[in-house]
């Protein structure tokens, strides 16, 4: 489902498509190995003829919308993907679908079996995108200057729309990563006690992104990778980097649902041989299972491809059939101080890094307000307010334990605890 909706040109199409997935507005629904088709009753008298070629995927609809794919095509694909019987398996496609498929096949044949890449077109599209982003960055810089000129105290008095509008402008300029961070500030500025230093730090990092963007031709590949992450400029799957084989211990899972009911899961892996920590990111529509369900506490022996960037790096599991065995807890736990040294090391490489993995050994949970995690030397980390402190206490029972978590803005979000050589998720 997430994959389906990932084809949506924007969130409003995705939303509209969900509204059209009632089979009653459809007729002549069907699918075979390569095509899905159906007729959707829209505002026009004749129903729209909708066809999706699953091999690409490619979309065709007789509706007047200029968006590609349109909401009808998306809805059809969603219904097909839901697989609840609404879209039947039919050998022979409806004529309108079969005709279109035949036309496409003809065009493809004419263009040769391997469609030649269109380097000119690609370069042109890239240049267009970059100029849009540059314009967005110029606008963003002026906005940052305004805040500093007027003062942070005055920014705090702004209504939520102040942050939302700035975020939306960034999204329009294809800078969705920055946009999300700016929008989040609209809430943080009122929710956090330390809003002023937090805002000043973020302003600095945003400004750093503007400056780095202007010098993008000079910076190295790793920094460019980190910059792309901050900006929200994803890489193509085939464009990602070097591969490492290892026995990867699955040490932490964190799931989140966003405003569009999209479920995302971060999976933290620790390489037994390399000692490296990498993070996998998977998506699914809410209520659906993740395509890749990584099991906490298991060991995945196989190859991952790491995205360019500073550590801890995002990675993709490239092995189709990795060997999975049972692990024995948290192999790389340390005291608080070395964990913070590692964090400083990562921050030196990537100033935009927000979420820092930490594997802590011999830490005791101290209930209180706020609750703490204290190591054997007394070094205390504050637990994030949303921590399920009772569950953590129940698991630890007041004994020192090993905990894996994410260190975000000087708060620890625990994800898993080792109990009797097994990791238990929180």
């Amino acid at each position: 489902m997430a994959q389906v909706l990932a084809h949506a040109p924007d969130t409003s199409s995705a939303k509209a498509a969900r509204g059209l997935t009632n089979p009653r507005t459809w007729s002549d629904l069907g699918s075979n190995d390569s095509l899905v088709w159906g007729k959707c009753q829209g505002s026009a008298r004749a129903p729209y003829q909708v066809t999706v070629d699953l091999t690409e995927p490619a979309f065709r609809c007789t509706c007047p919308s200029r968006k590609l794919p349109c909401k009808h095509s998306l809805a059809l694909l969603v219904m097909w993907a839901t697989n609840d019987g609404a879209v039947a398996d039919i050998e022979a496609a409806e004529p309108f679908a079969a005709d279109w498929a035949a036309q496409r096949a003809g065009r493809k044949a004419a263009a040769g079996t391997d469609r030649a890449p269109d380097p000119e077109g690609q370069a042109r599209r890239l240049a267009e995108r970059e100029s849009l982003m540059s314009a967005g960055m110029d606008d963003f810089e002026r906005w940052l200057h305004d805040i500093v000129r007027q003062g942070l105290a005055s920014a705090r008095r702004q209504p939520p729309s102040f942050w939302d509008a700035a975020g939306a402008r960034l999204v329009d300029a294809q800078l969705s990563g920055l946009g999300a961070r700016v929008r989040a500030m609209g809430g943080d500025i009122h929710a956090r006690d330390d809003w002023a230093p937090h805002l000043l730090g973020e302003l600095g990092r945003w400004y750093l992104a503007v400056r780095a963007w202007r010098r993008r031709d000079d910076i190295d590949d790793a920094t460019m990778g980190d910059l792309r992450t901050v900006l929200g400029w994803p890489r193509r799957r085939d464009d990602i980097g070097d591969r490492v084989a290892d026995r990867w211990w699955v040490v932490g899972l964190s799931q989140q649902e966003d405003d569009n009911s999209l479920l995302s899961q971060r999976t933290w892996l620790h390489g037994e041989r390399t000692g490296e920590t990498v993070m996998l990111l998977d998506f699914a529509a809410a209520g659906q299972a993740l395509k890749v369900a990584h099991v906490l506490g298991s060991i995945v022996a196989g190859e991952v491809a790491r995205y360019p960037g500073g550590g801890p790096r995002r990675a993709l599991l490239t092995d189709e059939e990795p060997k999975i065995t049972q692990g024995a807890g948290l192999p790389h736990a340390t005291d608080v101080s070395p964990a913070l040294d590692q964090a400083a090391h990562w921050l030196a490489g990537n100033p935009w890094l927000r979420r820092i993995p930490m594997a802590l050994g011999d830490v005791t949970v101290i209930p209180g307000d706020p609750p703490l995690l204290v190591d054997r030397h007394g070094a205390a980390l504050t637990l994030a307010p949303e921590t399920d402190i009772w569950q953590l206490l129940a698991l630890a029972g007041g004994h020192p334990v090993r905990v894996f978590g994410e260190w975000v803005d000087e708060r620890l979000h625990p994800l898993s605890v080792e109990i009797d050589d097994r990791l238990v998720s929180l």
Binding site: L203, L347, A348
Partner: protein
Amino acid sequence: MSGATTWDDLLGTALVGTTRRAVDQLTIGTETIHADSAEATVLAAAALASGYRRAGWTPPTWRGTPAPPAGPDGRPECTPAATQLLELLLNRGIRVEGGPELLAVQWLNLAKNAGRRPPYRLIVDLLRFGTVNAATRALVRDVVGPRGVWLAQHNPSWSWAAAVPPQDVVERFATGTRVERLGLLTDLRATEPDFARTLIEDTWADEQAATRARFLDTLHAGLSANDEPFLERALDDRAATVRAVAATLLDRLPGSARARRMAERAKNLLTELPDEPDQEARRDGITDHREPGYGRAASWLIQILAATPLSTWDTGQIPKAEREVIIGWTKAALRQRNQEWLTALARHQPSPELVAALNPRAATDILDQQKKLDARFGGLLAAAPGPWPAKFSVEIVNRLRAHKANNVLQLAATALAEHLDPQALAAVEAWLLTVAPDEKATRRVLRGIAHALTIRATIKQEFT
């Protein structure tokens, strides 16, 4: 500004804005920053300084003493399948007839008897379950074991599960609120009933009447002959409410002096109605309270019989007894928990109240003797305690099906789900196959029962 800029300087400037505070150049660490504009200078300085700040952050040192950890729990953990089931039941992830709570209680009972513990990760859910379902608290506390009792100390809403150290009990009882003190007494009665009573007696004279009545009421748990002298004294309490509670408790002690006095009064009463109660009888708790549908004298009779030891009589007298005598004996049998009399009275004229007080085998025997499968039977079946024997379970399902007793099925659905032996599952499923598709209510109930039996069978299997 000159010299190194501190983070606080920078923050101060940023807060008021560069329109109010002029900025030329800033020094962060060893870097001097002087950009095209004051704004750019502040932003660049913020980028650098916050980087230093984040990377150089050091944790505070905690100097407290951690609370002592939870004690060891020697019980082996239950099986993964049992864990999964409990998780589903506690999170209400399953639909079963009667609700998942009933099955959760069965799970807890089996775990307790098998000496297995739940995994620690379900202790929070169990404590929340006990908080909502107060009747299960004693059971939950046993099952969560030392880890749960330890955890409950940290959260006031779980105080019902927290262990109070013995040396603290007296102090807590002396200083606590009424609710806390009642909680302490209820807990203590389960383990040290005599100590709990002494606590009540210690402050007895200074408590308000309502408090005295509530405290006395806690003696229901762990009631024994040791409590009699105190109860006998309470019959002379200046508050009527306290005297009534004392009389109710003494009703349950057929060996007491008051029971002997009642037996004396009850002599000859099978043939004639009693006179106006004298002062002694009033002291023993006989009131002018009217039994609905009976006159003054008959109501006195019922009260006297209800407080008289059943050993005074012979069950052979039941068939010839008057209605008010039967009522008095029924009350006595329920209060004295006398199985012989309960069974004899239920044979004579079964009622849900009597059936509910019988042990499962006696209760199912009574049900077996009933000829008509009507609504009254449904009430008896719903009241019968479990677990029901396998033979009875299979037969009752087949009887209900043969007589198309769908109304009984509806009335007793919860009891069937809770008490039928899992061996009756095949009979339930066979019935379900013959029910017409349009009889939705019947189908739903049968499916719910089948589901509950499957789960119960699994639970049982996981604890053997």
